[in-house]
Symmetry: C2
Subunit: 414 residues, 2 copies
């Protein structure tokens, strides 16, 4: 079952907005048994949408379109669809009633703009998909033998609407089967080293095993096949990769999973990562059960007063040092009364680097009741990349300490 995605919008081609919709839709389709072989992004001009619609619908079982359903003149997806289907656009009274209802509920003090009436237009023969989050209804229809579903470009509206497609999907593709998917998550090892360890277990068919490296640094192995194939291959992968396994997708989720099990708590004291450690942790549902407290301590004064980092230590080792990271982690653990504490100190850039301590140098420490573990990492790239990856690395290290893979040692701060 071949599916394709068409995203519409000038803002995507100006590079001002990252197209996250296509990725979300691709995952949704893949999880339901479709094979996605192409995604296309075009701008607002109607002729570009029409040309792309002809191309992507040719040979596909399903096309999902996102964007171009807004109320303004430059939103032309409805028109392009009608032109390719060679039918007229007509106003649907049910859609217009729903739009007015949306305004009365969500913006009761504002008059309903007449311009939104355009959003009630649909090609003859198309069915409407209700929008629970905004004014533009979606559409389902077909171009020749290809099924087409058309959704707004606003991500959270699109995501909510996508789930309304499950029911028609069963009707359109009764033989579609959700594939069995197994995932194995690892960290603390690079992609090529992992490939060497698993050798022949990466296969393109029966089961299909793919490898994806997250921008945050962990690796996902994804197994697709029959239930039996997936079970056996997942077991073999877990066996080959035992020292690197994570219990959940990514270090933050793994840490929350692990600590929740035995009611342990964690705290963080961040300097250069500036909230990325706690933000990655806090993005996991259930983080509130394990996160005691977290501090961003950019300034030396804050490191001294809240965390008790001795001024002599700062002078002797410099603020970007494993000794200071260790003192911050131990101080934060005490300060917060947590079982574990993470600390980071480094140079996120773009300025502030030196020959000895270039931008991207980050010292990480994790403290538990037995002591502290430290390391220094180096991340290349933008300030944002340094912060995001260093935070993920710190969380990996905390997971390693919490799971007993990495042992902490008592140290004396001098």
């Amino acid at each position: 079952m071949l599916a394709r995605i068409l995203a519409v919008g000038d803002e995507l081609l100006l590079g001002r907005t990252v197209d996250t919709n296509s990725s979300h839709i691709a995952r949704w389709l893949t999880d339901r048994g479709f094979h996605v072989d192409r995604t296309v992004v075009v701008g607002d001009p109607q002729r570009d949408i029409e040309a792309a619609l002809h191309a992507v619908s040719d040979g596909a079982a399903l096309v999902i379109i996102t964007g171009g359903l807004g109320p303004t003149d430059d939103d032309r997806t409805r028109q392009a669809l009608a032109a390719v289907m060679e039918v007229a656009l007509t106003e649907r009274s049910a859609a217009w009633a729903r739009i007015r209802r949306w305004y009365r509920t969500n913006l009761p003090t504002r008059p309903i703009p007449e311009i939104n009436r355009r959003q009630a237009l649909a090609p003859v023969g198309a069915d409407l998909l209700a929008n629970d989050r905004g004014t533009a209804p979606g559409l389902t229809t077909r171009i020749a033998r290809c099924r087409v579903a058309c959704m707004p470009g606003v991500p959270h509206e699109m995501m909510a609407m996508l789930n309304r497609l499950d029911r028609p999907l069963i009707r359109w593709f009764p033989r579609l089967r959700r594939p069995v998917i197994g995932e194995v998550w690892i960290s603390g090892i690079g992609e090529s080293a992992a490939q060497e360890l698993i050798g022949g277990l990466l296969t393109e068919q029966h089961p299909q095993v793919g490898i994806t490296v997250s921008e945050k640094g962990h690796i996902t192995l994804r197994v697709v096949g029959t239930a039996k194939e997936v079970r056996a291959r997942t077991r073999a992968l877990r066996h080959a990769l035992t020292p690197y396994l994570l219990p959940a997708a990514g270090p933050a989720a793994s840490l929350v999973t692990l600590l929740s099990k035995d009611g342990r708590t964690i705290a963080a004291a961040e300097s250069c990562t500036c909230g990325q450690v706690v933000a990655q942790l806090g993005a996991v549902a259930g983080a509130s059960a394990v996160l005691r407290e977290s501090l961003v301590a950019y300034h030396e004064g804050v490191k001294r007063s809240r965390l008790g980092v001795p001024p002599s230590l700062l002078r002797r080792h410099g603020v970007v040092s494993e000794a200071v990271a260790a003192a911050m982690a131990m101080g934060m653990r005490r300060h917060a009364g947590a079982d574990l504490a993470i600390a980071t100190t480094g140079i996120a850039g773009p300025g502030g680097g030196t020959a000895a301590t270039p931008v991207g140098t980050v010292c990480v420490a994790v403290a538990d009741r037995s002591g502290v573990a430290t390391k220094t990492i180096r991340v290349r790239g933008s300030r944002e990349r340094v912060q995001v990856r260093a935070a993920a690395q710190a969380l990996v290290m905390a997971f390693e300490v919490a799971s007993g893979r990495l042992t902490t040692k008592p140290i004396e701060l001098i």
Copy 2:
């Protein structure tokens, strides 16, 4: 000058990886005067890459390809390019020498894998682009009259290599002119309300004015045209939107810009946003100059002990209340010795909502020396979306207080 982008990689079509490269390249091309009318993503199969290459090179002046240059069997961009050019692939000794040098410098303890030798292959007639960040060299060549540049898929390698393209670009397109671009940033107003205020100032030609809404909530108006057109239109837009103007791209950057000017400092005490406020602030270069300290205070005990939120207040109003947000902001301002403090408390979800306080309800407060301002917002969508948008809204509010647009009032906490 028409340009197109082709991104290659199964992981993009499985929806496991968001294609950020195309967006980055699109922005880079647009800023240099190209018009991008299409972006295509295909998977690893060579026939799919070949078909896409034929399609995107047809009628374009320039195509940028990203991905499929890795050392493994399933990396077929080089092969597809040679096939479309109808030339052979040959090993370039300079490229192989550079790959070996990269290994010796970056992974000195590891033997150089013979498999990487494939990355030294290039179609006859193609030029190499050096990779400063990894092993795969890039390529420049042409398909018929269309210039083609081919880059790795790893984002930070691609970004670094893109800048090596500036020089050949001048040679290939001597008449290419960088457009003059003006940007106006606003917040505190929705897209359609902003459109009503600026009416005829949104034009598709001479100058071209586009509107983009960030996922974080602020709006960017982008003016492209001659220097004179851009100056005049930008001034008109700023005039029409005065009460909503931001001095930089987004609330965090605006706040850092504004506070840096007169040496004021800020602190944050976050509950449900769990580090998003400080992470957004910390992502701005120069944030260290204004950010005093920041605390994630999930637990009531932390709210009481660090911020001095009275237990009676928590009991009377509930933890998700403007009164508690106000107490947190005032407590944090005092605790950190900062000029301003932001506080958030709410329900990020997915669990924990009630009929009275549904998931997505967030109370925000900003304190300064004169008192505190509070509001309650409601964000729909995932936990991540609630955290990201609520944090951005809190930063907008802090900007409004810091710039004097919003007045704080002394309150008594009972």
